[in-house]
């Protein structure tokens, strides 16, 4: 059974950071673009709240995991563009393996997929 479409899913603490880092792996991007990309790549399931996005971006910038600079977009608009730093790449690797562990562990607890629908 397909999960019900949900307009919003509250992201786990720290998950947004992971998603941002992952999104930036494909190239530098501004905040709006990151939000769009996360939504698109999650099949419209994950909608990033702007109120969480910008604090997260600036927190990551402060931690030097990402770097920011002002650029002019193709629409001739000044935008603040974020880019993954070397430390950010390392962090992403670590976070990814942690995430894999967590999701594996949770999956183990929940049992084989579809068990619930059978019961």
């Amino acid at each position: 059974m397909k999960p019900r479409y949900q307009n919003r899913i509250e992201l786990l603490q720290g998950t947004l950071d992971l998603l941002i880092l992952q999104t930036l792996r494909w190239g530098a991007q501004h905040g709006y673009g990151i939000a769009l990309a996360i939504r698109a790549n999650s099949g419209d399931i994950l909608q990033v709240d702007t109120g969480s996005l910008y604090p997260a971006l600036h927190r990551l910038e402060r931690q030097k995991l990402i770097a920011a600079e002002w650029k002019v977009s193709e629409n001739n608009q000044r935008v603040r563009v974020y880019r993954l730093s070397a430390a950010g790449k390392k962090q992403l690797a670590a976070e990814r393996s942690r995430w894999a562990q967590i999701s594996q562990a949770i999956a183990g607890i929940l049992g084989p997929a579809g068990e619930e629908s059978k019961a």
């Binding site: 702007t50 109120g51 910008y54 604090p55 600036h58 995991l65 608009q77 935008v79």
Partner: protein, 881 residues
């Protein structure tokens, strides 16, 4: 608010722009999907939410960084420290000892030197003093001189006040107490800018006339302790020295006179000093120098400017009153300078603060050593953190936070230890019943000092290990966990050398003080303090007239002499090395001081006939006083050899005459010469001194100390003698009851050496302990690092003796280099302490004994790990890798 990482305002603007561009892009996308421009921007706006809140929250990500990081570091440090309780408690205890020693010494320095008097703008007050010619600095002025100075100095001083101190008997409802009093000029409290806690203070109109204005102001603490803070005490009739006095007010809390040590309990108008022991003419006699003069500088006038106007006043006084004020040169001093003209207090304070700092440095060294060892163990942790992206500066900061947290814990424990220490010091008995105020309580200065010391300690202790362990991290990982011990053990060895040197210096200073105390105890005092009892009393305090007082002392001496077990008994106004003294500038007949010089004031004593017998001071020539010398016969005096040599060199002084500067009426004939004896100091050369008979000088000297020489132990006679006094005069207050031997332990006597030796020994002992732990730690750590090497050597045929020698040699080098440096440092420190020592500052006995002692203990500390190294099993050591 501005933060160190950049311009917060600029960041806010950029954030504003960033969110605006977000909105524009969202709106453009919607327009592209066909929404109208107005719809699109409204929807984008709605989707975004409250832009202001977003900006604030985002901005907070920056604004909270440093605090968050700090809290995180502190939390992390506390967790790390909790994980190794053994290390933490040893480090905290070590630092606590160091910080505690510093806090103790500082609290004493604070209360003596730094803490200002609780008066208005204490920096604006100055104490006046004068030289006569090139004589010594004198702080006591005559009342007539004071009055003229006050009239003439108004350009520089907004007010000059004066006071004189006394010990008087206060009787309330028939119960008497001995209190310390100040007889003060009417403007005393207004010059100091003080307001009463209750009632009123002494008024400017009071104190001008002898015996008028029988009023008294009590100190706040005396009022609290003895009257329970009863407000009805104002207006109460009491008696002082048997004279009726009314209590009119209470001085403000915390104020207890102008001395930081002595606690003045009652303030009376200057003119009332006639009820004290003072001569009746003190208000008009220009030769009677009794009052201390303190002034408040006019606003905008510096001390130097005031000096020059005082110079003019001094010249005028010298010209107008050449008899008394010739060559008078008046100067003004800040209270600290005045209390410490030789800078003795400052030098001693500096010396002991330095020694305490040295102890702390030793403690720091030990903790730094432990941290270095720990850093080795944590190299892998750090390397992994760095590999995971932790910035180096962040790692250093975290390690520093850890050591600062450690130091703070040590600081808190150190404050507790320091409190114990200063309470112990504050409870030292000074061998006097004077109301001494030795309050080494902690104030904000002590807390600030401890805080700063702890912070510095944390940084000093942590900086080297932090930098060390965050460098060369890549190597660590490559080496697969083998420490980079080589470089670090060099630093550790240097630290151990410093420890040996520092503790040697501390111990040598302690040794010099201890040897000085021993020498001082052995010094020939010129009198025999054994088997002598001292009991002081002042019949004036219970209102005895002169005739009654004379009668009392006569009967007292007769009765005490008749007691079995008493060899001899006498009375004296001054006890050698005690806190009270009589001084006068005598005028010697036929003696003209060399031009430009004047006779300085000399100390003297007022005694009864058997004094020299009781004190066992031998007569050199002439006769002692007899009961025939009384107020109706020729005034007589006895001088010591120093005085005889100075004024009558190569002559027989007997038959020569001199007069008291304060009482030039009677010509005093020298009838005897006694051997020099020590009266005010154990160490300085014995100055001229003279003795006058009690029978001819009762005024000013109703306070006398009964001295009794006993055959058996003097303490045993104490109760019986006190009973004898009580039967003669039941109300009389007897104080400073002690044996003459105990009486030697005053600040001017042996107590200074005793405190110095005790303090230096405590610091030295602490230092020794820390140094031994340090040397032991370094040598055993080095040996354990070389287990592998030792195993190979032994496998290749090295004997245990070779291994012992190898490990021991390393330790011995540390000890020997440390000793050499320490000797040089001690020599330098000894020069500072020179003036407070009896033995020479290069006393070879001390240097050799202490060095040998320290070397023996330190080498023993090296021997233990060396011995252990010989038991290394080569097979185990080699298999270990």
């Amino acid at each position: 608010m501005k933060f160190p990482w950049g311009d917060a305002e600029k960041r806010k603007q950029e954030l504003n722009e960033e969110i605006a561009s977000h909105l524009q892009m969202a709106a453009r996308d919607r327009e592209a999907r066909g929404e109208s421009s107005a719809q699109a921007s409204a929807a984008a706006q709605r989707e975004l939410g409250n832009a202001g809140v977003i900006q604030d929250v985002t901005h907070d990500q920056w604004a909270r960084t440093w605090l968050e990081d700090l809290l995180q570091d502190v939390r992390h440090s506390l967790r790390t420290l909790r994980k190794s309780p053994g290390f933490t408690s040893i480090a905290v205890l070590t630092l606590a000892l160091g910080i505690g020693a510093n806090t103790t010494i500082f609290s004493v320095v604070d209360s003596i030197v730094l803490r200002p008097l609780p008066i208005k703008d204490p920096d604006q007050t100055a104490v006046l003093a004068f030289h006569k010619g090139n004589g010594p600095l004198q702080f006591f002025f005559s009342v007539p001189d004071y009055q003229e100075m006050g009239d003439q100095a108004s350009a520089s001083f907004s007010g000059l006040m004066c006071y004189l101190s006394g010990m008087d008997g206060l009787a309330v409802n028939g119960k008497s107490d001995r209190i310390m009093t100040n007889y003060v000029s009417g403007n005393y409290f207004s010059v100091l800018g003080l307001k009463p806690a209750l009632g009123r203070l002494i008024l400017p109109s009071e104190g001008e006339t002898l015996g008028a204005d029988p009023v008294m102001v009590l100190s706040y603490s005396y009022w609290q302790v003895h009257f329970g803070g009863d407000p009805n005490v104002v207006g109460r009739a009491v008696s002082v020295n048997g004279h009726p006095i009314t209590i009119v007010g209470i001085a403000p809390a915390g104020f207890h006179g102008m001395s930081p040590f002595l606690s003045v309990q009652g303030f009376l108008p200057l003119g009332m000093a006639s009820i004290g022991v003072y001569p009746k003419d003190f208000m008009v006699n220009r030769g009677e120098r009794l009052v201390i003069v303190t002034g408040r500088l006019q606003t905008g006038i510096t001390l130097q400017q005031a000096q020059s106007s005082l110079g003019v006043i001094g010249q005028r006084l010298s010209q107008t009153y050449p008899d008394t004020d010739k060559a008078m040169n008046i100067q003004a001093f800040l209270r600290l300078q005045a209390a410490d003209p030789q800078h003795t207090t400052l030098v001693i304070s500096g010396l002991f603060l330095g020694l305490a700092a040295l102890v702390l440095l030793l403690a720091c060294t030990n903790v730094a050593n432990i941290l270095l060892v720990r850093a080795t163990a944590r190299e892998r942790e750090m390397a992994i953190r760095a590999a995971l992206g932790a910035v180096r500066s962040r790692l250093i900061r975290q390690l520093l936070t850890e050591s600062v947290v450690l130091a703070f814990l040590g600081g808190v424990a150190g404050l507790l230890l320091g409190y114990l220490g200063s309470t112990t010091l504050g409870s030292i008995h000074l061998q006097t019943d004077l109301p001494v105020q030795f309050d080494f309580g902690f104030d904000w200065r002590v807390f600030t000092y401890a805080l700063v010391v702890a912070l510095l300690t944390g940084v000093i202790v942590g900086i080297a290990p932090a930098i060390r362990s965050s460098s060369g991290l890549a190597t660590v990982l490559r080496e697969g966990g083998r420490g980079i011990a080589g470089g670090k053990s060099r630093l550790r060895r240097a630290l151990a050398v410093a420890q040996v040197a520092g503790s040697l210096m501390l111990l040598i200073i302690a040794g010099l003080y201890a040897r000085s105390l021993m020498e001082a105890q052995r010094i020939d005092l010129g009198f025999d303090p054994s088997h002598v009892l001292n009991l002081s009393m002042d019949p004036n305090q219970i209102g005895y007239s002169e005739a009654q007082g004379r009668e009392f002392y006569k009967h007292l001496l007769d009765r005490v002499r008749a007691l079995p077990g008493v060899e001899s008994a006498s009375i004296a106004a001054v006890v050698p090395l005690g806190y009270l003294s009589n001084a006068d500038t005598p005028v010697i007949d036929g003696y003209e001081p060399p031009t430009g010089q004047s006779v300085p004031p000399f100390l003297y004593n007022v005694i009864s006939p058997d004094y020299f017998e009781t004190m066992r001071i031998p007569m050199v020539r002439g006769r002692t006083f007899t009961s025939a010398d009384d107020a109706h016969t020729q005034y007589v005096g006895i001088v010591n050899e120093a005085m005889s040599k100075q004024f009558w060199p190569n002559q027989d002084p007997i038959g020569h005459h001199f007069k008291l500067g304060s009482e030039p009426v009677h010509s005093i004939e020298v009838v005897g010469v006694v051997k020099d004896s020590r009266f005010d100091s154990i160490t300085s050369p014995i100055a001229p001194f003279f003795y006058l008979p009690f029978a001819q000088h009762y005024t000013f000297n109703s306070l006398e100390t009964l001295q009794v020489r006993t055959y058996a132990a003097p303490e045993a006679m104490m109760p019986e003698i006190q009973r004898t006094i009580a039967t003669l005069s039941p109300d009389l207050l007897v104080f400073d009851v002690e044996t003459m031997r105990q009486g030697l332990y005053t600040l001017g006597g042996l107590l200074g050496f005793q405190i110095g030796a005790g303090l230096a020994a405590s610091l030295g002992g602490l230092g020794l302990m820390l140094a031994i732990v340090g040397v032991y730690g370094v040598v055993s750590f080095a040996a354990s690092q070389r287990t592998h090497e030792i195993g190979i050597r032994m496998a290749l045929g090295a004997s245990p003796a070779d291994v012992l020698k190898m490990v021991f040699r390393e330790g011995a080098m540390i000890v020997l280099v440390g000793l050499a440096i320490g000797l040089a440092a001690a020599f330098a420190a000894g020069r500072v302490a020179r003036n407070f020592l009896v033995v020479s500052e290069t006393d070879p006995v001390t240097y050799v004994t202490v060095s040998v002692l320290l070397a023996t203990i330190a080498l023993a500390a090296c021997y233990i790990p060396a011995r252990r190294a010989t038991r290394v099993d080569p097979m185990v050591a080699l298999r270990y890798e």
